[in-house]
């Protein structure tokens, strides 16, 4: 039978197929961070259990950590007492159970979805989970990767398995190649805008087409990262020579096993003639830079267009009017008329070295627009930070007026001190423009790193 990539990954991890539509799926890799793990460790202790396979776990603090740290910073230096407790709790739990941990000072600390691939913790064909919905990111490496809740974190710690139902297969075929100035962030925002934030519910989405083959692993990760914003907890891209090249210098597999691994990875693509439950084609040949205007990622439009005019007969009108109101907009208002207060470059969507190079290319030799009160560049990991510094990008950012920060999730969700004040308008390279996401009553516009950089210099969306 011709199988999809998802079918192959599922079959390879299925321990038991119960007759009640669920399966027991074996988990190869488990990433942990401070926010969704404490209750799971607590549960484990209450049941007097130990992690099933300690070596499968990798942990680091990312959500809560301040991004102004400097050299002498340690966990005790975190000012927010509640955040500090959560980070300490992770340290204690990892120490108690001997879990591989990158502490706040390590060069390998960073956003879990950035450090996983760059350290070779993420390998093709693996099943990967984390108590974080953006675990879909790792699907760019042809892995079965998904976000889970805290009860499931505990379940994976205790049993190395998940008890879940198989998803349906949704294939999204991208037709055509957009202009080279269009980034994969624009592509995924356009997909969500076109298909809606619930198209992927109950599905694993596999992205394919000439465009996908043509882009880097960083760009592919951005697409799989936001498959959850299209409703799919699993986003997938087939293994190919681009994947292999990325892994070459990052993985540590013994020579004895390497050829077998490479031979296996070569099979991690959908068979010719494999059937998808749903298959959608989207033409991206004439794609323009995208920007979200509302409070859901599907509320997105072209950079040179306007806030929509709402038809009161449209069943979405209540939701849309609420969004326009929250965002402080008028129906029909041109996007170019919006004045921004802050710019955030970072998050598991767009904080990798390639993203930072794109931004540096735009802002080199320029200055922030006077209306931009604050512009942050938050590298996704210590490794990204060091690489950027070795290329002199930090100096380019600082000379332009950006703040060059330490790694973490930062203003993507404002759990650390990096937040918007009420009604501040932010151009953000992150993934969610929900109400209050970046700070109470803050207003988020999702954009690519390229457009965020242009907004930082121009103060608004340039035509």
């Amino acid at each position: 039978m011709n199988k999809t990539l998802y079918d192959k990954l599922w079959d390879d991890h299925e321990v038991i197929n119960f007759d009640n539509d669920e399966s027991l799926i074996y988990i190869d890799r488990h990433f942990l961070h401070e926010v969704t793990s404490p209750q799971a460790f607590e549960g484990l202790k209450q049941k007097s259990l130990k992690p099933w396979r300690i070596k499968s776990n990798v942990a680091t603090p990312d959500h809560n950590v301040p991004t102004v740290r400097g050299n002498k910073f340690d966990t005790a230096s975190i000012e927010d007492e509640i955040s500090k407790i959560q980070v300490i709790e992770l340290e204690k739990n990892c120490s108690e159970f001997d879990i591989h941990f990158h502490d706040i000072n390590s060069n390998k600390q960073g956003i879990v979805h950035v450090i996983g691939p760059e350290n070779g913790y993420t390998l093709p064909g693996m099943s990967i989970v984390c108590g974080d919905s953006h675990t879909s990111t790792h699907g760019a490496f042809a892995t079965l990767a998904m976000g889970i809740g805290t009860s499931e974190v505990e379940h994976v710690l205790a049993t190395q398995c998940l008890r879940i139902k198989k998803l349906r297969n949704l294939g999204i075929k991208l037709i055509g190649l957009p202009d080279p100035s269009i980034t994969s962030k624009d592509v995924i925002l356009y997909i969500i805008r076109t298909l809606g934030t619930d198209i992927g519910n109950g599905h694993a989405i596999e992205f394919f087409g000439d465009y996908i083959k043509s882009i880097s692993m960083e760009a592919r990760m951005t697409i799989c990262n936001m498959s959850i914003e299209a409703g799919a907890k699993v986003g997938l891209i087939a293994y190919d020579s681009v994947t292999e090249k990325y892994l070459e210098e990052r993985m540590s597999i013994s020579n004895k096993d390497l050829q077998n691994a490479l031979d296996y990875w070569e099979t991690l693509k959908s068979d010719d003639g494999a059937s998808y439950d749903d298959l959608i084609e989207i033409d991206i040949s004439n794609l323009k830079p995208q920007i979200s205007w509302g409070t859901s990622p599907e509320m997105t439009t072209d950079f040179d267009s306007s806030v929509p005019i709402i038809d009161s007969a449209d069943p979405k009108n209540v939701t849309y009017k609420k969004a326009i109101d929250y965002m402080g907009l008028q129906e029909g208002q041109p996007i170019s008329s919006l004045s921004f207060d802050k710019v955030f470059i970072g998050s598991c969507t767009n904080s990798r070295i390639e993203d930072l190079r794109l931004v540096a290319g735009i802002v080199d030799g320029k200055k922030l627009s006077p209306n931009i009160k604050e512009a942050l560049v938050v590298p996704g990991s210590g490794m990204v930070k060091l690489q950027a510094q070795s290329e002199g990008l930090d100096k380019i950012f600082e000379n332009a007026g950006f703040q060059w920060r330490d790694p973490g999730c930062s203003m993507c969700l404002g759990m650390n001190p990096d937040r918007l004040s009420p009604e501040e308008r932010c151009a953000s390279t992150s993934n969610r423009n929900f109400e209050g996401r970046q700070g109470t009553r803050g207003r988020t516009h999702l954009v690519s790193p390229l457009l965020a950089a242009k907004i930082a210099i121009h103060g608004s969306v340039p035509n």
């Binding site: 119960f18 070596k55 693996m126 205790a158 049993t159």
Partner: protein, 210 residues
């Protein structure tokens, strides 16, 4: 399921007729700093329930309530059932969203559709998520405008309206989970030998994963 059981949820039902209510709305990030599994009920829909900015240490009785928000209005302050639009619980995987609903007193959510991770999280905490078509949901909405109350019978998979019943689908395995309140970890550890066998085979065929 051939066991003799009954599972009925009956009580005040509030509607929030908005699509794509994400888990950041259900429980804002600020409250995720807790390391506990309980105590989130006062912060449910925090951004909509209160006019001022809260945090985990702030006493909610001192905060300025949004009197227009349905869960601040009698009798909906005591809601057991929530009726919402499509894609409820999309976004972040935070189980805190389900804990907040549970701690508030919500036992059942009726929606046109749910975010996948949220849907799973509900069953881990005894909350029943019911997915029904828009048409059926409109009937439910009309009913609660008049009656304020709903009766949901999980045994028969029905929502009882004044003169009719709406049937809903739910997977047998998940239905059992709610009714029997089983512990997933105990069940799975019952298969420990199969997991060990699978694991050792896996490390023979793919030793680089060890």
């Amino acid at each position: 399921m051939n066991k003799n059981y009954q599972h009925v949820i009956e009580g005040i039902s509030a509607e929030i007729a908005i699509d794509n209510i994400d888990t950041d709305q259900i429980i804002p990030t600020e409250y995720l700093k807790s390391i506990k599994k309980y105590g989130f009920g006062d912060f449910l829909f925090d951004g909509w329930r209160y006019k001022d900015e809260g945090n985990i240490q702030k006493d909610t009785s001192q905060r300025e309530q949004n009197e227009d928000f349905i869960l601040n209005i009698d009798p909906y302050k005591k809601s057991k059932i929530l009726v919402v639009g499509k894609n409820f619980g999309c976004g972040s995987s935070r189980e805190h969203a389900v804990w907040a609903l549970r701690d508030f007193g919500i036992e059942c959510i009726i929606a046109e559709s749910f975010g996948d991770i949220f849907y799973n999280n509900c069953f881990k905490n005894g909350i029943l998520p019911i997915q029904i078509s828009q048409d059926k949901k409109n009937h439910v909405s009309e009913h609660i405008k008049e009656n304020k109350n709903l009766r949901v019978d999980l045994t028969n998979q029905s929502i009882q309206l004044e003169s009719s019943e709406i049937q809903f689908e739910i997977e047998e395995s998940l239905k059992e989970r709610i009714i029997l309140g089983q512990d997933d970890i105990d069940i799975t550890l019952g298969y420990a030998n199969q997991i060990k066998q699978f694991e050792s085979n896996r490390f023979v065929s793919k030793p680089w994963l060890k």
